[in-house]
């Protein structure tokens, strides 16, 4: 995959994810409708590749305005990933030399690997995660389960222990997937299923769409550096 193709794939996936996020805000307050309406228009331009570098720059400025408006991310990690992808793409489109463009895009790929590894590492060192109790707590009293019925999972400790270990092992072993094309594609497919499960069980739909947008960067980096 060439750098240009990977950048374009990321632009398209990010624009679609941003359109989904923006649509949800169009049902909100007037100030949000204005900000996200403008964001939706910019995303439509990006989707069709019209004046992409300028559109990306405008989206970064709008991203800063949104951060200011909500005094931080509106949707936690998904907003952070949105800004990270946007800033890396913008840098890659504006930096003058090819190798600087590559560094900017490789930073995104690196962060994607780190995000899975760190998420697993911080859990696996915790006794409550290793025993399965942490995942029981998530289902028992956290704000995330989308229905009261899902809280019944808290009474299935063996299932949650197995699920917790599956997630932790997948996350800490994720960097090993970089050593072949097949394992990376399998790992990204598994990761997407993991985000899909989080979206269904915990309502984290925005995470699913925006994480997908970061995957082309890793496919490109693997081909560029490792294979």
């Amino acid at each position: 995959m060439t750098l240009d193709a990977a950048l374009r794939a990321t632009e398209i996936l990010m624009a679609l994810a941003f359109l989904q996020q923006s649509a949800e805000h169009l049902a909100g307050f007037r100030d949000e409708r204005l900000i996200y309406g403008l964001r939706a228009i910019l995303c439509a331009l990006l989707l069709f590749g019209i004046a992409s570098p300028w559109v990306l720059l405008a989206l970064v400025l709008l991203g800063l305005l949104i951060l200011q408006r909500f005094q931080g991310p509106y949707n936690g990690g998904s907003d952070k990933m949105s800004l990270l992808i946007l800033c890396c793409l913008t840098a890659a489109r504006w930096l003058p030399q090819e190798h600087w463009k590559e560094y900017a895009f490789a930073y995104l790929a690196g962060q994607l690997v780190i995000c899975y590894f760190i998420s697993g590492q911080v859990k696996i060192v915790k006794p409550e995660w290793r025993s399965g109790r942490a995942l029981q707590d998530v289902f028992r009293f956290s704000a995330y389960p989308v229905s009261e019925g899902l809280r019944a999972f808290a009474d299935q400790p063996r299932l949650l222990w197995a699920m917790g270990w599956a997630v932790m092992l997948f996350e800490v072993l994720f960097p090993l997937a970089l050593f072949s094309r097949e394992t990376l594609i399998l790992a990204l497919f598994t990761a997407a299923l993991f985000h899909l499960a989080n979206a269904c069980l915990f309502g984290l739909n925005r995470f699913f769409w925006i994480w997908l947008a970061a995957y082309p960067s890793l496919l490109w980096l693997q081909e560029r550096v490792i294979l």
Binding site: L67, Q68, Q71, N75, F141, P145, V146, E148, A199, N205
Partner: protein, 148 residues
């Protein structure tokens, strides 16, 4: 400018420590009052989750989930309000409860004043759940709260 940089840096250099620990979890509860001097008669949870959600509804929410994402934003505001209280967090909670009540209750059913409180749930030593009220707002006049 410096405050904006402080908001941006965690996105450019994220910590990615998702679910490192399962901390006490906030619920927003509200009460309507006839006057600013009245005491709340009963507290109700803001936007309680449904008993069940069909697989089709879950799939639909993949594309359209504004209320749930707003509720997650209120969880963030509740955590911010408990750690470092700001007027912004309180106003966000008040205006979103007001908008929801005005949207969902029949005309004339709203009382003039609104008060909310934050209840944090945590696991007790014996495995049961414990609740702690960490914040209670003053009564606020609802008129104009939900304006942009």
């Amino acid at each position: 400018m410096l405050s904006l940089l402080k908001l941006l840096l965690p996105a450019l250099m994220p910590s990615w420590r998702f679910f490192k620990s399962v901390d006490p979890s906030p619920r927003v509860e509200w009460a309507m009052l006839a006057s600013a001097a009245s005491a709340p008669q009963s507290w109700r949870e803001f936007r309680p989750r449904p008993q069940q959600l069909t697989p089709l509804a879950m799939l639909r929410r993949m594309l359209w989930n504004p209320r749930w994402n707003e509720s997650l934003f209120l969880v963030s505001c509740a955590e911010r309000l408990t750690l470092t209280p700001t007027e912004h967090s309180e106003q966000e909670i008040l205006r979103r409860i007001t908008a929801e009540l005005q949207r969902s209750l029949p005309p004339g059913a709203c009382l003039p004043y609104l008060q909310f409180r934050l209840v944090f749930l945590d696991r007790a030593e014996d495995g049961g759940l414990i609740k702690a009220i960490t914040y209670q707002s003053e009564p606020h006049l609802m008129a104009g709260l939900a304006a942009p």
